[in-house]
């Protein structure tokens, strides 16, 4: 999923303080799962904003709503009947959702309430870690299901660097060395020989090196 964290309240207030009526819009997808921008968080943020603005002697009317998916034009269309009287939209989706709104509603200011972080998964309650950089050329089949692009600080392709010590990365003792994890996994799978293969320099074009990426499925595209 795409993970996100809410921006500091002060930053959000800076965005919305010129307006009297805004739509605060959550998303039921990834940001709900990572407890950053779902229905519950929309309610909490609306209350927080109201309180903070009241304290400073101003007020704002906040209409709360949560879409099934903000990145999907089909669901964004739901907003058309309700958007007219709103002066601005504060989105609690990831950056994809924010841009979907900005593209659809060209005359409405759209602001992000979240900082989109990374593609990852849940480690335990309240903890998420990065697992995929979307490089467009998945190597997990060669690296024991552990990604050196997402999990190695240097995105190395041919084993650990000199900064790997006792299975930890040089950037922090809290960060495991991805290549140690890969080695352990290949060993467990009886595929140690794969570690000795020299991987060629990566073609980064599929990872965005050639500009913004697009997928066109001829069988689905209209």
């Amino acid at each position: 999923m795409i993970t996100a964290e809410r921006k500091p309240l002060e930053e959000i207030i800076e965005y919305i303080k010129p307006f009297k009526r805004i739509l605060l819009l959550g998303c039921n997808e990834c940001v709900t799962v990572c407890a950053a921008g779902g229905r519950k968080e929309v309610g909490l943020l609306a209350s927080g904003l109201q309180l903070a603005l009241l304290k400073s002697g101003s007020s704002i009317e906040i209409r709360e709503h949560t879409l099934e998916r903000q990145c999907d034009p089909e669901y964004v269309e739901e907003l058309v009947p309700m958007i007219g009287s709103e002066e601005a939209i504060l989105s609690m989706a990831c950056g994809c959702g924010v841009q979907q709104l900005a593209t659809r509603f060209k005359d409405k200011p759209v602001f992000p309430a979240l900082n989109t972080k990374f593609m990852g998964g849940s480690l335990s309650q309240g903890v998420w870690d990065e697992r995929c950089k979307g490089c467009g050329d998945c190597l997990l089949g060669l690296t024991g299901g552990i990604c050196p692009i997402a999990k190695c600080a240097k995105q190395l392709m041919n084993g650990p660097c000199g900064g790997s010590t006792d299975g930890k990365c040089e950037i922090s003792d809290d960060v495991e060395c991805a290549w140690q994890l890969i080695w352990n996994r290949l060993k467990a799978l009886g595929q140690e020989d794969r570690f000795l293969d020299i991987m060629p320099a990566k073609d980064w074009r599929s990872g965005g090196g050639g500009g913004p990426r697009k997928i066109i499925r001829e069988d689905l595209a209209e």
Binding site: N158, D166, I198
Partner: protein, 290 residues
């Protein structure tokens, strides 16, 4: 005889590391290099070593060549993509620097520019491969070069803390040798017995091995390394020797000189690392009888 020829002829090589300045005052670097002319085979010029932004090694290497001392410059992957790396290496070659040392680079988080974006388009193994490709007259894109360089490329073994770490480093070095590295620089040697054990294991790499000899400038530095890098094997006896000495600076120089002398029988060279005390290099060589 050039560094490359001495390596090929299995001659003992003496290298010394000299850093470029953080700025444009090159007088100390140039003076240090001149002082060592004729006494060492090459000067190794790190490039933003330990993540400290400095004048690039390319310029440092050219300055060394201008003083009549052969240069070996560091190349690494943190700050340049494949185009910049290839371009700079070709530039180095035409300016007289033909020796390269592919090194590990400190993570940007540990640098003095922590807000910078790191590159890592390639890794060390791939960079060694690229140098071999350039030597064959092609660039990474497969295009022919107009004028083919003849680089001598080496690689490093990073400090390791235990046998498992050493095994990993030897595996990594084997890959770099397979990719085209022609010599290996090892971490500092403080214990000759451990180094002999290392050499026994490293024999299978079948490449010239050049250990680092680090000048212990003070008791505090020796104690710090002993505490923080168990794999360095700084013994309690060595610490005692420095502590009891009436002239600790001189003791450090003696230890370095003795280590160099002993390594003549164990390795194919030494790389002296004096971290700002390059003016002490002649004394170390005197002590070593070189």
């Amino acid at each position: 005889m050039s560094f490359q020829k001495r390596l090929s002829a299995n001659e003992f090589v003496v290298l010394a590391e000299m850093h470029t300045p953080k700025g444009v005052n090159i007088s100390r670097l140039v003076n240090d290099a001149r002082r060592m002319k004729g006494r060492i085979d090459a000067i190794v010029v790190p490039d933003m070593d330990n993540g400290i932004m400095r004048m690039s090694a390319l310029a440092g290497g050219v300055l060394m060549q201008q003083q009549g001392v052969e240069a070996i410059i560091h190349v690494y992957c943190r700050d340049r993509n494949r185009m910049a790396l290839q371009g700079d290496m070709l530039a180095a070659y035409v300016l007289g620097v033909q020796n390269l040392l592919v090194t590990h680079s400190e993570d940007i988080e540990q640098s003095d520019h922590r807000d910078a974006r790191q590159v890592y388009d390639l890794d060390e193994v791939e960079l060694v491969q690229v140098i071999a490709t350039l030597n064959q007259g092609k660039d990474m894109g497969g295009f022919e070069l107009d004028g083919v360089p003849e680089f001598t490329a080496g690689c490093t073994i990073a400090p390791y803390s235990d046998e498992k770490g050493l095994a990993g480093e030897l595996e990594a070095a084997a890959k770099k040798i397979e990719a085209g590295a022609g010599y290996i620089i090892t971490p500092p040697v403080f214990d000759l017995d451990s180094f002999a054990g290392f050499m026994e294991k490293a024999k299978e790499l079948n490449a010239p091995i050049i250990p680092t000899v680090f000048l212990l400038k003070s008791l505090a530095i020796a104690q710090y390394i002993a505490r923080s890098e168990p794999g360095a094997n700084i013994s309690e006896d060595l610490i005692k020797r420095i502590r009891k000495s009436s002239d600790r600076e001189l003791e450090g120089i003696k230890i370095a000189g003795e280590t160099v002398a002993a390594l003549k029988d164990l390795s194919q060279g030494v790389m002296l690392q004096t971290l700002g005390w390059e003016h002490k290099l002649p004394e170390i060589l005197d002590m070593a009888g070189l």
